[in-house]
């Protein structure tokens, strides 16, 4: 027997779920043979299915009132073919330049990578270099009394003494 059930979107039907497909066939006029006999026997005893069938029986007439989409005519296929030709031309043109374009992209990518590596190496080098060469504070304060002047090289013991004396004099 038919029973009421409900799903989303306010759907409420009194039809038996097992017979809904057959009821649809019957409404569409696409039922015959054993299915027609089976449904007919069922409808004799099921008021729910009879009611559900009656409820929707108007839908074909209602929906057939609206006309189907009109054929757009030969203009449509001509437009499509024109679009296809344009698209193919663009693809062909792109195909001609494609090897050069892809080579250019590869070159650009390699150059970018090389530049990035150089920048990374350079920044690392600059960070480490001052740390290695920076003199300590104490070393900066001690005067170098014994290193010879880069321009002058003493040739005798007297000259060494003279240079030390000149340095001392210059400081005072």
């Amino acid at each position: 027997m038919g029973h009421e059930y409900q799903t989303g979107h306010e759907y409420k039907s009194s039809a038996c779920p097992d017979y809904e497909a057959l009821l649809e066939d019957s409404i569409s006029g696409e039922i015959g043979g054993a299915d027609a006999i089976r449904l007919s026997e069922h409808l004799k005893t099921c008021a729910g299915c009879r009611e559900a069938r009656e409820h929707v029986s108007l839908t074909p007439r209602l929906l057939h009132l609206a006309e189907a989409t009109a054929d757009p005519g030969p203009g449509f296929s001509r437009n499509v073919m024109a679009r296809i030709r344009t698209d193919r031309d663009v693809r062909t043109e792109r195909g001609f330049w494609q090897p050069l374009v892809s080579m250019g992209w590869r070159f650009a990518a390699t150059a970018t990578l090389a530049l990035a590596l150089l920048v990374a190496y350079d920044s690392t080098f600059h960070v480490e270099k001052p740390a290695q060469q920076a003199p300590t504070l104490e070393a900066a304060r001690i005067p170098d009394m014994f290193s010879p002047d880069s321009g002058r090289v003493p040739s005798s013991r007297d000259e060494v003494l003279m240079m030390v004396a000149e340095d001392e004099h210059a400081k005072h």
């Binding site: 569409s28 108007l58 839908t59 929906l63 054929d71 757009p72 449509f76 296929s77 073919m81």
Partner: protein
């Protein structure tokens, strides 16, 4: 010429339909093969054969007249590009309609809109006119009445879930078979039938609610609102 018994005549007519269909299917296969080998005229003929149904299918999903033709053209462009990959194992129409459905959903996703929803109510005159036509079982007279009936039906369909609208429009207005709908929507034939039956029931709920005495009839059916997702 002797009279042909009714049962024989019936069986002859039932044989004639598949033969006709097979010929058309074979013809279409030849056209596809020719188009695959680069014959443009063959592809143009395929477009001519299917343009109306592709437009109907796109229209049933997008429900936006200004975009329908553009999307339908895009569908045929895609079909042309991927035609060489089509292996002829299924019918060309099934393959074409599946591409159409996917293209429509892609389009809606890209545009980030959902199909049109009719938010305003119908006018009392529109409802009573439609009811008069249906109850008198008379044909629609004239272009203006046809336009009004279509608008009223679209309003009613707009009150249903999208899949219900699509099934009813394609089956009843555009003449797609249940088998075709099952293939296009990747559903079981039985599932399509059940969904169609339920969609009919929901449509009639909307119709009865609007045409039964005492129902609220207010406002006018003028605004079509686009719901941004």
């Amino acid at each position: 010429m002797p009279d042909v018994p009714k049962d024989v005549a019936a069986s002859a007519s039932t044989v004639a339909i598949p033969l006709g269909r097979r010929t058309r299917a074979e013809e279409e296969r030849d056209l596809v093969r020719q188009a695959q080998s680069g014959t443009e005229a063959a592809f143009e003929e395929l477009i001519r054969r299917h343009q109306q149904r592709v437009l109907a299918l796109v229209g049933s999903i997008l429900r936006r007249r200004e975009d329908v033709e553009d999307v339908a053209q895009q569908v045929f462009l895609k079909v042309f590009i991927s035609l060489k990959r089509f292996d002829l194992r299924s019918a060309f129409s099934t393959w074409l309609y599946k591409i159409t459905v996917n293209e429509c959903w892609d389009y809606l996703r890209k545009k980030k809109v959902r199909p049109l929803v009719y938010e305003a109510d119908l006018s009392e005159e529109q409802v009573s006119r439609l009811d008069g036509i249906v109850s008198a079982d008379r044909p629609v007279a004239g272009a203006s009445e046809q336009a009004e009936v279509k608008e009223t039906l679209e309003w009613m369909l707009g009150k249903l879930p999208e899949q219900d609208q699509q099934l009813l429009v394609l089956k009843e207005m555009e003449g797609f078979s249940v088998q075709e709908l099952a293939e296009i929507l990747d559903l079981n034939v039985n599932t399509v039938k059940v969904r169609l039956f339920r969609a009919r029931s929901r449509l009639m709920d909307v119709y009865r609610r609007r045409t039964s005495p005492g129902s609220t009839k207010s406002g006018s059916h003028s605004a079509n609102a686009e719901r941004k997702s």
